[in-house]
Subunit: 368 residues, 2 copies
Amino acid sequence: MTADESLMRECIFLAGSGKGNVSPNPLVGCIIKKDGKIIGRGFHKKFGEAHAEVNAFTDAKKNGYKPEGADVYVNLEPCSHTGKTFPCTDLLVSERVKRVVIGTKDPFEKVNGRGIRKLRKAGIEVVTGVLADECRELNKFFFKYVTQKLPYVTLKIAQSIDGKIALNNFKSKWITGEASRKYVHKLRSEYDVVLIGKNTAKLDNPSLTVREVHGRTPYRIVIDKDSSLPGSLKLFTDNEKEKTFVVTGVSKKAVTEIYSKNIIRVKEKDQKLVLKDILKKFYALNITSVLVEGGANLYSQFVKSGLFDDLYLFIAPKIIGKGISSFNDFEISRLSDAKNLKFIYSENFEKDILIYYKNVHRNSTDNR
Amino acid sequence: MTADESLMRECIFLAGSGKGNVSPNPLVGCIIKKDGKIIGRGFHKKFGEAHAEVNAFTDAKKNGYKPEGADVYVNLEPCSHTGKTFPCTDLLVSERVKRVVIGTKDPFEKVNGRGIRKLRKAGIEVVTGVLADECRELNKFFFKYVTQKLPYVTLKIAQSIDGKIALNNFKSKWITGEASRKYVHKLRSEYDVVLIGKNTAKLDNPSLTVREVHGRTPYRIVIDKDSSLPGSLKLFTDNEKEKTFVVTGVSKKAVTEIYSKNIIRVKEKDQKLVLKDILKKFYALNITSVLVEGGANLYSQFVKSGLFDDLYLFIAPKIIGKGISSFNDFEISRLSDAKNLKFIYSENFEKDILIYYKNVHRNSTDNR
């Protein structure tokens, strides 16, 4: 690993501290180095607040350093437009830094290379593409959201060795162990939305909150076409109930009479809610990431439509026998028609194993 | 790792070269060290031929060394009885070695500590229990066979992400990739027997031979209670057909009229063949290890009866949807009734992942 890569890795690490708080903005970390020494660190902490670069310069000055002539490391191209804050490229130019090392270009149309050009025009040396893959992975939500105008969709499945997510009598609580559940809570705290289907809401009555780790509860959205879920569910009654939304085909007025909830109305097509329409609606609501937590019908819809990006598959060391399979709503007649995923890594959580897959054959979010 | 452990690891490695050829004997490797130098190596190559210790001394002498006063490393307690060969303990005593380092005691009733006592009586220093777990794992077939008078049973399952071993139309060939299949061929070459159920024989018409790696084809046994399988199957017609046996409830005479095959007759109970009776019959035939390769009914029987020892679970990065689950022949009503296994390790085979589990709650084969 080169010195540039090593500092870029630290930027990625810093940037990660913003997870769950910056959406729909990207995660950004920034490091300022001068005379072989790190003089400032910063990351984007919260949507609407200062960018990483600003925080890093503030940090440097607070410590009594002058950034003039410094090297600046940042995982994403500095912004060149005035949004909620002043453009970071202008800051870098006015601070007269010598060199800027960038992970990936910012695909956002108002930036998309303009930041880099602006810096070069000002005589600053710019290096790009340092740990580009890691930087893209860090901001996978943002890249999908900006380039495809859809939120990033992750399926999370907890199943037995034999691929069952519940018994035939629908009992499904605690298939996996504590460590796995804790990791799921961590995931929830990083996604904008946790999405479930109607049956899961009714049968499991889950709370979908973040309890096992420090972090905020995401928006909890349940798809309920006819708005017929009982208002007594935890989602509608617990402390976080303002964070619960219902996707429905019923008009807001009709819904309000059943129970007063936050409604996301999606027009039915052939008496069905189309997944892509739901995701487009999410995009319009600035939702960049969705964690799908069941059940089998919803998982199946995402696989059939190809509208998911990756899969966290937790396997508990149990054999259940007959039961509910994770994808029970479609059938193929040739093995070559199976949905192919790509294995990325596996990790152990006590007795369970987590296998992380990415979807393949989808539009690339590559922005190299 | 101590020096003793390091040499014991080499014994284990050496012993492994005998896999597939020594059953029902154990796998044994032996190393002779003198003056800080390895002067002889040997392993048990083939059932009925010389033991590892004999081969190691032959090797030392061939190289012009005198083993007197040497340290001898061996993963299993040297035999103290006259079987097909002269007792190895007598050899060690007559060669006047100084010290013997042993992995595990030999649980075989004619040895079981007698070898160690004999050596100590002769004034030889004996160290036991070096890398005992690894040594036991190496000889897991032998330990089960000797202590429980049953063969060691391994389930091998190749499934999709969603736990399907075949489509609903029974198409199941090549769910996993080449590297996984190659590993399965390696497994076959190490087991005495590959066992399948009648449906798998009929629907898949597998050959179950060892083709992708160098090694011998195991006995191929199919359970066919009524002896109604067609004689045209590959198992009955290919080059290795003498290695195919049929477990049946029908008398040999009746069978011979249908097709002339090697018959293992097991008495029916309530018109069923009982798995334990089949395994006892295998034990009587000196079968120490069985690799079960399907299908779902047979897997289910092994899980219900608890008569299996471990599971090689290959997962291909595919989603199949509706299909045949690996264990479709039993149902539980509470999650706490699920069959619990123990995760041991995972390994990647190109795009597939192999997860290795051991059965829990069974009689221990521990011989510490």
